[in-house]
């Protein structure tokens, strides 16, 4: 199972109070994880990625194993620790604003 850690506002929207667990049929990448997340929680469509372009929203970043992987290809395999469920795939809202 893939663990996904969401920021507060997205947990509230999705109605979850802790990490989300996803059962992926494909190797985990940013794209396959987010696709599966949006299938399980349709309310999150458009909040992490643009509806039309599927591009990441500017103030959203992705972390795995303590590393910022935001700018890596959406189709790169995620680290083995994420694939095995040892570490979560983290969706983070940028620290900005008030």
């Amino acid at each position: 199972m893939i663990r996904v850690a969401l920021p507060h506002h997205l947990r509230t929207l999705a109605g979850v109070d802790r990490e989300v667990l996803l059962d992926l049929k494909e190797p985990p990448t940013q794209r396959t994880v987010l696709d599966a997340l949006e299938v399980s929680y349709p309310v999150l469509r458009g909040t992490i990625r643009d509806h039309a372009t599927a591009e990441r929203r500017p103030f959203v970043r992705f972390f795995a194993c303590g590393r910022d992987i935001t700018l890596e290809s959406a189709d790169d395999p995620l680290p083995e620790e994420v694939a095995s469920g040892a570490e979560p795939f983290r969706v983070v809202g940028a620290i900005a604003g008030g």
Partner: protein, 371 residues
């Protein structure tokens, strides 16, 4: 006994304030959607329990929320606002062309007759409609397709479509207003539109009386006399007696004719309310005194309403969607400030009390008269 429900959108969530017809005591519910910007909450005239709320942040974009029980519970509905076709470009601040980009929903206007039909005014300026209770949205692209569209430019707050007025006797007729493009009208249910800005003069423009480019801040009407429109422009308070075909200034003796909101008394169509602001450079009340101005003559002659409002050291603003009236007699008038106060008057503006004082900055106020 009838009652009033105030729907308040703020920088950090929504609030629902409820009172009976006396409007003396208010129950406060919220914050709803805490931490999100709530640009607008509005109710269906056809079903008082049907509410729509525009919820957004710079991080996670636009959400649309719907309640079917008067605000007790909410459901996220459709948040995809896709411009029709290739969006094209409009004028940017520096005069160059800039792609049309959706930012947020500023204003929601439910149909007068169908709770599932609702219009959304968005930034960058466009009008969308949902006929399935907010689940899906389609652009009424005839507005943006007007030949002047490429010349529209944003105001300081963005290029927002903030006013949607549905004619109560002719549902094919609607008036919308865009900052800073001006006012537009459709007479065919939104298929085609034309600018209705004749008589507006804006010194900020190279040619003061051009067809588009005017920074209209808000338009209001009384439904019993829907062809008479009142406008708070960037500068100038204006009036039209012919559904916007022509406008004339009615600023009269106002201490400043700059401001954002404008409202019309529910039972007296010649009674109009504005909140003068010092200038476009200083968005604060003149002399630090918060005054609502009321005209009982359809403009030109204005009186200051001050009882219960701070008359010293007050430097808040009242935004364009943050004033509303109820339908009771005497008419209730309400407004919210950027300082987080919501003021209420249950006697048409003669006396004011702060219902709350410490909300986040208020973006919008709607007043719902309950059966």
């Amino acid at each position: 006994m009838s009652g009033v429900r105030l729907l308040v959108g703020t920088r950090k969530g929504a609030f629902v304030l409820t009172s009976d017809g006396s409007r003396d005591e208010w129950d406060v519910q919220g914050p709803l959607f805490a931490g999100w910007e709530i640009y607008h909450v509005n109710a269906s005239p056809a079903d008082p329990d049907r509410l729509y709320a525009s919820q957004s942040t710079g991080w996670f974009g636009q959400m649309l929320q719907r309640s079917d029980d008067g605000g007790r519970t909410w459901e996220a509905v459709g948040n995809e606002f896709a411009y029709d076709g290739i969006p094209g470009t409009h004028q940017w601040y520096d005069g160059t062309q800039h792609p049309w980009e959706f930012a947020r929903v500023w204003h929601l206007e439910p149909s007068l007759t169908d709770p599932d039909t609702v219009f959304a005014g968005v930034e960058d300026a466009a009008l969308f409609r949902s006929v399935d209770g907010g689940h899906t949205w389609q652009e009424l692209s005839g507005l943006r397709a007007h030949k002047s569209g490429e010349h529209w430019a944003p105001g300081a707050g963005g290029m927002c479509l903030h006013t949607i007025l549905i004619h109560p006797d002719d549902p094919q007729r609607m008036v919308v207003a865009i900052s800073a493009a001006g006012a537009f009208r459709t007479d065919d249910g939104g298929q085609t539109w034309r600018p209705i800005n004749r008589g507006l003069r804006s010194q900020e423009l190279p040619d003061e009386d051009r067809e588009v480019g005017h920074c209209v801040h808000r338009i209001a009407m009384n439904p019993s006399r829907p062809d008479v429109l009142f406008m708070q422009k960037h500068w100038d308070v204006m009036r039209s007696d012919d559904s916007g075909e022509s406008w004339h200034e009615v600023s009269g003796n106002l201490p400043s004719d700059f401001g954002f909101p404008i409202g019309v008394h529910a039972n007296e169509p010649d009674t109009v309310y504005v909140v003068p602001i010092k200038s476009d450079s200083e968005h604060v009340p003149p002399e630090g005194r918060l005054r609502v101005y009321r005209s009982r003559t359809g403009g030109n002659e204005w009186e200051a309403l001050t009882r219960g409002l701070p008359q010293s050291h007050c430097y808040v603003n009242v935004l364009r969607d943050a004033m509303a009236v109820d339908d009771l007699d005497p008419c209730g008038v309400y407004f919210g400030t950027t300082g987080g106060q919501v003021y209420a008057s249950s006697d048409a503006g003669d006396n004011w009390t702060a219902v709350v004082r410490d909300f986040p900055a208020v973006l919008s106020v709607e007043a719902q008269t309950l059966p």
